[in-house]
C-alpha cells in the first residue's frame, strides 16, 4: 500500500466532504484511479498536480505523493 495526500480545492471540498486527507491505495495506483475513488463528476474539467507539477491521468503514484485537485480557475 502507498499513502497519498489528497488536497482538494474550491467547491470540490464540499462535494467530497474533506479538504485534505492522507489516503491509502495499492502500490502503482494511477492518478485517474485516485480521482475515480472520489465523489467528483469525472466529466468536470479539473487541473491535477502531483507535488506541484502537472500530471497525466495514467501516471503511477508513489508513496508520499501529494495530489492537488482543483477546478479550472480563470483568474479574478
Amino acid at each position: 500500500m502507498i499513502k497519498i495526500t489528497v488536497k482538494l480545492i474550491g467547491p470540490l471540498i464540499n462535494l467530497a466532504g474533506f479538504s485534505e486527507k492522507t489516503l491509502e491505495f495499492p502500490a502503482e495506483t494511477t492518478v485517474e484511479e485516485v480521482l475515480a475513488s472520489l465523489p467528483i463528476d469525472p466529466q468536470r474539467p479539473k487541473i491535477v498536480t502531483r507535488n506541484g507539477q502537472a500530471v497525466a491521468p495514467g501516471e503511477k503514484l508513489k508513496n508520499g505523493d501529494r495530489l492537488a485537485i482543483s477546478p479550472i480557475y480563470s483568474g479574478g
Binding site: 488536497k7 480545492i9 474550491g10 467547491p11 471540498i13 464540499n14 462535494l15 479538504s19 468536470r44 474539467p45 487541473i47 498536480t49 507535488n51 506541484g52 507539477q53 502537472a54 501529494r66 492537488a68 482543483s70 477546478p71 479550472i72 480557475y73 480563470s74 483568474g75 479574478g76
Partner: protein
Amino acid sequence: MKGWTGHILRIDLTSRTHKIETFGEEFAHKWVGGRGFALKVLWDELRPGIDPLGPENKLIIAVGPIAGVPAPNTGKTVVAAKSPLTGGFGDGNLGTRATEHIRKSGYDAIIFEGQSDKPVYVYIEDDKVQYFPADEIWGKGTYDTHDYLYKIYGKGVGVLSIGQGGENLNRYAMIRSLEGRAGGRPGIGAVMGSKKLKAIVIKGSKPIPVADPEGMRKLGIEDLRKVGEINKQTGWSIQSTTGVLSWCNEVAALPVHNMRQTHHPDAWKIDGERLNNARIATYGCPNCTMRCGIAIRDHEGHESELDYENIGTLGSNLDIFELDQVGSLNYLCDDYGLDTISAGDTLAFYADAIEQGAIKGDFRFGQAEMAKKLLGMAARRQGEIGNLLADGTMRMSRAIGSGSEAYAMHVKGLEISAYNCKFCPGMALAFATCPLGGHHKDSWVITFEIKQTKRDSYGPEKAAKVIELQRIRGGLFEFIVACRFPWIELGWPLEHYPEYFNRVTGLNWSLDDFWKISDRIYALMKFFWVREFPDWDRTRDYPPMIWFDPSNADKDGPIAGKVLELDKFNQLLDHYYEQRGWDKRGIPTRKTAEALGLKDEITEVEKYTKLE
C-alpha cells in the same frame, strides 16, 4: 442606429457647463463602446506629454451596447484616463448601478474635462446636469460618501465616488461603487480627484435603445437563470475567485514576501475555505447570478468584501496570514478608494527595501497594524513616507535606488497582480504585454500554462494563448462591456455574446468581427504608449528583473532552483510580436495598422516614431 444611444455627455468642470454630442455608425462600429470608446476619445483629444493630474487630462466613463441590458453580467462600466501611475493608457471596469442609469439617461459615454476650483459632486438626470458643493463629503471615505448621497437621492441611483486616496492624488487611487466594487487600477480615481470631482450620481428614465427589445428581454432573463443554475451546480460561488489561493500555493505561484517566495505553510489560514466559513454576506454587481463578493467581519468589526487578488496582495505578499486583518486592510483600501493590488505590492516593496537595507524604517513583513497606519498615510500623503508610498513601487524604487528597482514588482509602473511568475513564462508574458501594465485582467494564462504546456516552455503556443485571451478578456468583454466570469469560470459559451449584441444592435456580427476590433484596440493602446514614450523598445515589455535572478530561486518546493531565463523570454516576446504583426520593438507595423483601419492613427503616431 439601434443599440447605441448615439450620445456622449461632455462636462467641463472648469466652467461647469455641459453639452450633448452625437456620434454616428462609423464610430460605433469601429470602437463599439467601453474601452474602445474611451481609448479613441483619449487618443484624439489628449496631447502627449500632458500632466495626467492636470486639467488637460480627461476622465472617461463609458458603457457598451449590451451594458445594462438584462443579460448575463452586464452591470459593468469602464473608467479611463491617461494614467498618473504609468503615464500610459489607463482604464478599468467596475460593477455599478451607474451602468444602467448612464444608458437610461441617454448616453454611451461621459467625458469629464477641466478642473473644478472647489470640490464638487455632479448629479446627472437624463439631460439635466447639476453641480453641488462637496464640502460635506470631501475628506471622507467612500462608505460615508455613498451613505450621504443615498440619503439624498435614494439607493436606486448610480454612484461613483472617490475616497481620500483620489482626493490626495495617490497614484493608485480607484473609483468605487456599491459595497466593494472598484475600478481603474492605474490611478483613475486620482484623475477624478485632480478634477476635484468627489462623486458622480446618475439617474436615468429613458428606454435603452434595443433593436429587438422583447426578444432580448426573454433571451437575457432566461440566460441569467441558466448561468445561475450552472453556478449552483458547480458550486463556484462557494469560494468564488478565492479558491485560486490554495492552487497557487500548491503550484508555487503565490505572492509571498514581496514575491520573493511562492508558497507558504500558513497560506491555508487565509484560503477560500476559511473565507467561506467566515462569510457574513455575499455581494454582486447588477445583472449577476453568480455573485463573487464574499464579505467577512474584519478585525475592527467592519464588513469587508474580499476576493483572491485582495487576499494575495494584502495578505500573503505581506506575510499576513490572519484573515480578519487582511479584511481590515481591504476595508481600508475600499474606504480610502485605493487599489488593493497596488497598495499591497507597494507596502510589500517598502518592507522588502527596509529588509534589504535600501531604506531605513520600522515596518516589517507580517505587521498588520503598521500596514493599516501606512495605508492611511499613503491615502492622505502624510509625511515623507506617505508621499513615497502614494507614488507606487516604480517611483519609490527610483527614489530609494540601491538596486531596489530589481524587486519593485511592477510592469510599466502598474503593480503586478497576485501571481508570482518567477517560473511561469507564459503568465509573465501576459503581465508583460498587458496594455495597462502588470495586470491579470487582460490575459490569465497560468492554468493553461501549467495544465496544457510544459511549464519551462517559451514556445509560440504560450504567446498564442496570451493573444487569444487578450482578444476575449481585454477586447470583447471590455468593449461590449460585460463581466467575463460566466464564460471564464462557468464555461458559458462565447457564442452567446454576438447573439446578445446582434439582438441589441440589429446587426449580424460574428466572433470574428469582434476579434478584429480587439486587435484594433490593442494596436491603438500600444500607439498611445508609444506617443507618450517615443523611445519605446521591448525592454518596456519586460517583467521585473528579479524573476530572472538565479539567487531569487526557490530553495524548496515544486520549482526549487528555477527562474525565468531572459534570452528565452526574449524569444517568447518575439513569438508574441510576430503573431500580433508587431515589430521587434513591440510596435504594430504599418501593414498591421493599415489592415486594422488605423490610417489616421498611423499619421499621428509617425510624428513620434517611424513605423516598420
